[in-house]
Symmetry: D2
Subunit: 351 residues, 4 copies
């Protein structure tokens, strides 16, 4: 349920109501929008009467029930207003959201060694990326495949961060590693295979860093939003939803089916920002540019693109990685669409 306050409702009245709701056994959450304040109520609200609640204060404009199974992530919960997620990076705060310029995240699948990660970081930064991606802990289908360099790779990411000012996005696979990953990352990633690892969701929800939640390979949109709800319910409101391709009956040419229709669908269902990963979404470098262009035209807030200095020698995901040169050109191509839809930052960042 949400309680929409009238414009100008005094702070004290909102607090008083919050206290009253707590006495009713609910968990009130204050959401300050651009013009109005909303109090979100989650808990056992089945027996509550909206009309009765409304009478609790003359400053209440409306009491609405959120009919969806996800509450805090629903667009209604913020009374229709999109979230803006502010992420601190050495080069300043970067905003993710419907009204913000498109944020580009780029980098290799895994952190292989210091020179490759620092070199890649410089290149993607120069091309306009705001974040560096790079796996320290890698989920691999085979136990005999390269599993990532683990904790030591986190140190290399930090070196790249210091060298470039880029924010860092890296994946956590195990609740036991959360502390060290969250210490190294500006955004903590939960991968597709762990989208319904509920223990992990609860724990990333109980720490402060923003979370990038990749959609599971065969997760419905509702399951994905429920996974995000786990994180919000645990106290962390800063979740970015990342589509990375779903599994369908055809995998001959593209590794996954990038589901771009999630963009308008999520926009109508949730206030959370949206990221598209065309690299995993297609699995093939040559298809990445077209899908990145399409994602922008469809309204994404952010892109994640794999870039590797030498894709042919990459320890993982080489076939879907762009070279730094191709990424440079791609950013030029993207800027054309980005400007057309008025979502491109006026002056590209300089390294």
């Amino acid at each position: 349920m949400i309680v929409v306050m009238k414009i100008g409702a005094p702070e004290a009245e909102v607090s008083r109501l919050g206290a009253e709701f707590e006495e009713l056994g609910l968990s009130p959450e204050k959401i300050v929008g651009k013009t109005k304040t909303v109090i979100g109520l989650v808990g056992d609200t089945v027996d509550l009467d909206a009309l009765q609640l409304q009478e609790m204060s003359p400053w209440i404009e409306q009491v609405l029930r959120v009919e969806k199974p996800y509450k805090r992530v629903s667009r209604e919960y913020r009374h229709g207003e999109a979230s803006e997620i502010a992420v601190s990076t050495p080069a300043g705060v970067v905003l993710f959201g419907e009204g913000c310029p498109i944020v580009t995240v780029a980098g290799p699948c895994s952190v292989e060694n210091e020179s490759m990660i620092v070199e890649t970081a410089h290149r993607v930064k120069a091309a306009g990326a705001k974040f560096l991606r790079g796996g320290a802990f890698k989920p691999r289908t085979s136990p005999y495949a390269f599993q990532g360099h683990g904790e030591s790779a986190l140190g290399l990411l930090d070196a790249a961060r210091q060298a470039t000012g880029l924010g860092i996005i890296t994946e956590v696979m195990d609740t036991a590693d959360l502390d060290i990953v969250a210490a190294a990352a500006d955004v903590v990633q939960v991968g597709a295979r762990n989208m319904q690892n509920f223990s992990l969701l609860k724990k990333v929800g109980a720490q402060d860093k923003p979370v990038l939640l990749k959609r599971g390979m065969s997760a419905t949109i509702e399951e994905w939003l429920m996974a995000a709800e786990y994180i919000l319910a645990a106290g962390n409101p800063n979740v970015i939803l990342c589509e990375r391709g779903i599994r369908t009956f055809d995998r001959q040419y593209a590794r996954n089916t990038l589901d771009l229709s999630v963009i308008p669908v999520l926009r109508s269902l949730t206030h959370l920002p949206i990221m598209i990963d065309p690299s995993h979404g297609t699995g093939k470098a040559e298809y990445v540019p077209a899908m990145a262009m399409a994602a922008i035209a469809a309204g994404t807030d952010s892109l994640m693109i794999e870039v590797h200095p030498n894709p042919a020698k990459a320890l993982s995901d080489g076939p879907q990685s762009l070279t730094p040169d191709r990424f440079d050109r791609l950013m030029q191509e993207l800027s054309v669409i980005g400007k057309a839809v008025d979502r491109w930052e006026a002056v590209p960042a300089l390294a």
Copy 2:
């Protein structure tokens, strides 16, 4: 196999070779490209020796084997050059192809009566569409649902064609109806449910009107191209491939999953032009604009969009139809992206 002729190869030499290939039991097909002529060979080519073929004429530049199971539709078969499909309409020839402006097809799911179809035709024409879509024969899941007005609806489409100069695209469901449908249509549509109705494919391949081949609900890209190959093998080279959403595990919010990654995939595999149908692809009018924008950015050659004067009262597919007013606005929005990628016709046609 394809035989690439040198630039300037004399017409007579190409004909002579064609005759020789026929004597070898092959079906040679002359394809005149922008700079070179290619002779396509389909048949029992397994035992042919490329080197030996090459010696048949000094004007042969190269003999290449097409490794894919689809031959005539493969990009190699035209030595890498895209097809341009020219469709005659009362208002002139319209070209579909990679190097041409994006062609928009619009109209209602079914032809309901004369005034609605003529009114819609005028509206979509004014907004910039080149073709009117409208079903006379409708494939419906239930035998008790409206099945289309059949032959009489073909007459109404003709009235709309006369009134506006738009080309007509309408579906044929039964080989028995092919003659009357082909007489009324400028492009004959084979629907998703008939994509592997091989009898129908052979028969639309044996007539002259260009064919719009919709992708089957769970057809792989290879199966789709093989279906197109049936049409080309029967003699009709003019096939447009239309993606209209595939069936996946999630149908809660969107009716199908629009697979936009077919755009770069098809581009690399085939020379045939591509159309995207975001109306069937999403099943919901509110998601159509974002997906239409994305399709253009990804490189589609054409769009098919359902427009109905009163979606709430449509006899079929109302929820996915735009009003004429919304379609007007959409065409404005699309022109922004279309111009950004240099695929938008400079001056919209006037009726």
Copy 3:
């Protein structure tokens, strides 16, 4: 809607009611069950009042609304009683149904020549099969693959029928071929790719031979039942539903995913008999026996199994075909399960 008559309701009263319903613009259908007679009503029943109908005769026990979108195929339409479909064969009538012994259909994918089809017919007959399957018209993904011998193969099937007394099941792909196929077949098959070829469904519904309706590769159970409803609505009540594997994300080891859970699901939804085709369902001969055993244990009414005298040389579907020897052994194995569930014919037919 269905009108359940009381036990002992006079024939004349049932007829009188039928006539009255026709006057109301409905299409009454008399269904004589084991103990009761039911009048099925399809048409515009939305505005009818069940109570008012009930007062039309003291012999009416109950008036019930069929809530499902499929009416005639629903189990309710026969007031819960399963259909028994009687098929004439040279060796006598064979019954398909929940209360009948399991019927086995066997034979090659396609009819290749007279000796192979007659030899196979003798072998499968000796092993206990009641029907011979064999394709004259073959739906093939590639236009360059063997398309079946067509009309001449129908003659060969007839030879095998005469020689063995087996019934014949063969596929019709085109409405134009229906007459000759129906003349040659004891059961006319509509293949998976044509499950939603509605023109074909209407036409097989308008002729007399029983119809085997294969499930489309990605058809939901509801769509499948709606396809059957097309046939019943056109006048032919004799439809057998055949599951032949659906398309899922995994095709590495089995070609399709045989969905055996349709057996209990269909049993609860429809009165029509069920057939399982483990050959197409798995695509691999070695998996066929386990799945055939499972189908019987799950309650199928019938099995379709591909048998070829020399699978390695088959013109189509060799990898999924059993040799006649393996089929002999399989029938022995099946009889063990068949007897355990009391669905195996006491004395196997002798050739």
Copy 4:
């Protein structure tokens, strides 16, 4: 690679070879089969020459390369022989394997309170089950749904174990809980959503209790076997593979699509025992019996069936749970099929 020793090869020779292989940087694993001993070699075997290895001892019969990406779980790794997994329970050792009687696991989705779990345990034991299932930690789509009673529920499972002698199977969701779950369970379950939680796989592989590995909702068979390989590679050879339904395009009647064809497929690919869970596989109690029957006929080694004293009031998965009475009847029905295929224990256990 596997090194097959001749019959009668002396123990000392096998040990000597093992030591030599270790010196080559390989990880030799001795597998004692019914007649022969095999040495499995995993590691960097690409450059090894089979012929050269063969010359290392006259007692070597054959050296074979395992071509599949999964090594230790492949059937070849045990030279074609199936594993038998012996699980200790208070009532004695229970064997899972191709040559053993079918093992039935039954119980509620979650442990709700002491009386319900103990009562259910007594009932399923009396009907012939060998293991009690019951969730202490529950993966739930919604953060607001009942999450299981956690550690306290493990105590209740122990009470049921003491009271009945049944073995306990319960799920671990978090590496942090593994110690307490492994202490309480006779078999530790990894759920479908965690099938590719590689951190968890490594940790259950590094402890001693047998592991039940459920197939992920959209996991290919190869991915599933690779997940099992993680566990074996970490040192635990005792893995049971449990199919519980996959996600497909149709979820209207059954919650998942139970993929019974995995039984013959897995049988040919791996030596590990197979379990089928028709309760999750269909999601509906009325479909469970037919699918359990089918699973036995197809050759499963084990069944997992949800039983709840009062399904209508279950805190989770009520619709798919059988009552104890229905389970009694089911076990009678299953015994008919089980005896027909000679996989049913002669004398059912008495409580």
